[in-house]
Symmetry: C2
C-alpha cells in the first residue's frame, strides 16, 4: 500500500484489490531465462516498482516465491490493474462487445485497457569472428553474460532499438545486418528479435554491465549466458555462419524451455 493516500483512497484501493483478488487471472510469471529469473511484461500489483533492469526486464518482487508448478495453470496472463488510467475509477475483467477475450474494462467510463506482448530487440555484435557480450551488473541474472538487448522504445525501429541497446550496455556502435532469430517468450509476454551486427570502434561497460568482452565461438561462456533466448540466438548465429537464409523462429514456454 503506497504511503500518502488519504483514508478514502486507501479504502478504494483496498476494495479494488480485494475484489480483483478473487478474479480468474494469473499474475506475471517467470518464463524464459535461467533458473532464477522472473521477468514480466510490466511491474504491477504486488510486484516491484517497475525498475528497468538491463535486459529491460520488469519483474515483480517476490514473484519467484509464488510460481505455480509447471503445467498446472495457464502461464500467461494479464497484468493486474486496479484503476482506469484515464478516469481513475475501478476496472473489471470482462469481455467487451465484439471481442472474444477478457480485458480490463473501466467500470465508469468503459475504456478498454488492452494488454499485448512486448517486443525486445537485440543483436549479436561481431568483429573478426568474435562476439561482444555484456556481463550483467543488474538483476535478474546479475553476473551472467548476454548479448545486448532490451525493450524496444516508442519512436524507434527494431534496428534502431538493437543499436541503442548496444550503445547503452556496451558503449559500442554497430552496423546492424539482418534479422536472423525471433523468439516467442510466451510466458513473459514478449517477442525477442535478434539481428546480426558488425562491431565498430571501441567498447566499454555501460552502467548496466560489469564488463564487456569479445569471445570466439569456443570461448563463449555457454553455462553463464543469462537468458534462453540469447543463448538460442548465439547458437543459431554460429550455425548460420553469417549467411542470411531466413529467420529462425523459436518458441519458449516455461514447460518446455
Amino acid at each position: 500500500m503506497p504511503d500518502g493516500l488519504k483514508g478514502s483512497q486507501k479504502a478504494k484501493l483496498f476494495s479494488a484489490m480485494a475484489t480483483n483478488a478473487n478474479r480468474a487471472y494469473t499474475v506475471r510469471l517467470p518464463a524464459w531465462g535461467g533458473p532464477t529469473e522472473a521477468p514480466s511484461v510490466e511491474a504491477s500489483r504486488g510486484g516491484g516498482t517497475g525498475r528497468r533492469a538491463g535486459f529491460k526486464i520488469r519483474f515483480p518482487k517476490g514473484s519467484g516465491g509464488s510460481i505455480p508448478p509447471s503445467g498446472t495453470t495457464p502461464l500467461v496472463t494479464n497484468i493486474m490493474m486496479n484503476f482506469c488510467s484515464y478516469c481513475g475509477e475501478s476496472v473489471s475483467r470482462k469481455t467487451p462487445h465484439d471481442d472474444n477475450r477478457k480485458r480490463w474494462v473501466c467500470d465508469s467510463c468503459g475504456r478498454i485497457h488492452y494488454q499485448n506482448p512486448l517486443p525486445v530487440v537485440g543483436c549479436v555484435p561481431e568483429r573478426d569472428g568474435k562476439i561482444l557480450l555484456c556481463k550483467r551488473a543488474i538483476e535478474p541474472r546479475y553476473g551472467y553474460w548476454t548479448v545486448p538487448a532490451g525493450f524496444m522504445e516508442l519512436g524507434e525501429s527494431t534496428v534502431q532499438g538493437a543499436a541503442r541497446e548496444t550503445r547503452e550496455e556496451a558503449c559500442a556502435e554497430v552496423e546492424i545486418g539482418h534479422l536472423f532469430a525471433v523468439v516467442d517468450v510466451i510466458d513473459a509476454g514478449q517477442i525477442h528479435l535478434f539481428y546480426t551486427a558488425k562491431l565498430i570502434g571501441d567498447f566499454s561497460a555501460g552502467h548496466e554491465s560489469l564488463e564487456v568482452a569479445l569471445f570466439s565461438e569456443d570461448e563463449i561462456p555457454w553455462d553463464d549466458i543469462a537468458f534462453h533466448s540469447g543463448r538460442y540466438a548465439l547458437k543459431k548465429y554460429f550455425e548460420d555462419k553469417g549467411q542470411n537464409t531466413g529467420v529462425h523462429i523459436h518458441e519458449l514456454r516455461r514447460s518446455r524451455s
Copy 2:
C-alpha cells in the same frame, strides 16, 4: 468526461487532465496506412473507446483533425495517462532514476508505467498462386482489402497469432510458413510481422470482413489495399516467389511512408 463520476472524482480528473495538458508530449498520430486512417497504440484520453477494429487498430476519435504538419513535431509519443492503474492516484511525466526517458510515474506509489511498441502479426495465405484477402467490414479503412493481420495476444506465439487472425477474419485455416517481412510502423508504435502461409480448406467472411476472396498477382486490388504495411508485404511476397531468403525489413514513418 465519463458519466457517473462523483463531484470529487470529476475535480480530480479535471485537475489531472489540466496538468497533463500542459506537458510536453504528443498524442497518438496516424502513421502507416492509407490517407484516412489514424491508428494508434491504444485508445486513450480524448480518443475512442478502445474499440478493436479488424486489423485490431485502436484509434482515437477525431485524431485525424489534430494531426500536426509532417516534420514539425516528434511523431511518436506516449499514450496519455491521468491516473496510476495500481493505486488510482495521479501520474506525472518524469525520468525515473537510472533511466534516460520520460515515463508516466505515479505521484503517490512511484510505480512506473512503461509504454512500448506493440506487435501486429499477419500472413499472406496462398493457394495455387492466389492470395486470400479480406474486405474490411470495420473502420478504419472500411471497404478496403487487407491480408489477415492483427494485434498479437498474450499467451500466443507470433505464428499462432497470424493463424488466429486468419481464422477470425477469413474463417480459414492456414499452415504458416516462414517470416518474410517486418515493418516498423513507427508513428503508430507498432511492428508488423508477416508470414507466408498455405491456405487449407474453405474460407468465408468473418464478422470483421465484408467478403474474402482469392486474387492472383495481377488481380490484386493494389489501389484498394487498406494499409501500407500490408501492401509492402504483398509486394515482397510476389518478389520472393515463395523463396525463403531472409526477411524484408521496412520502416514506415508518416513523413516518408
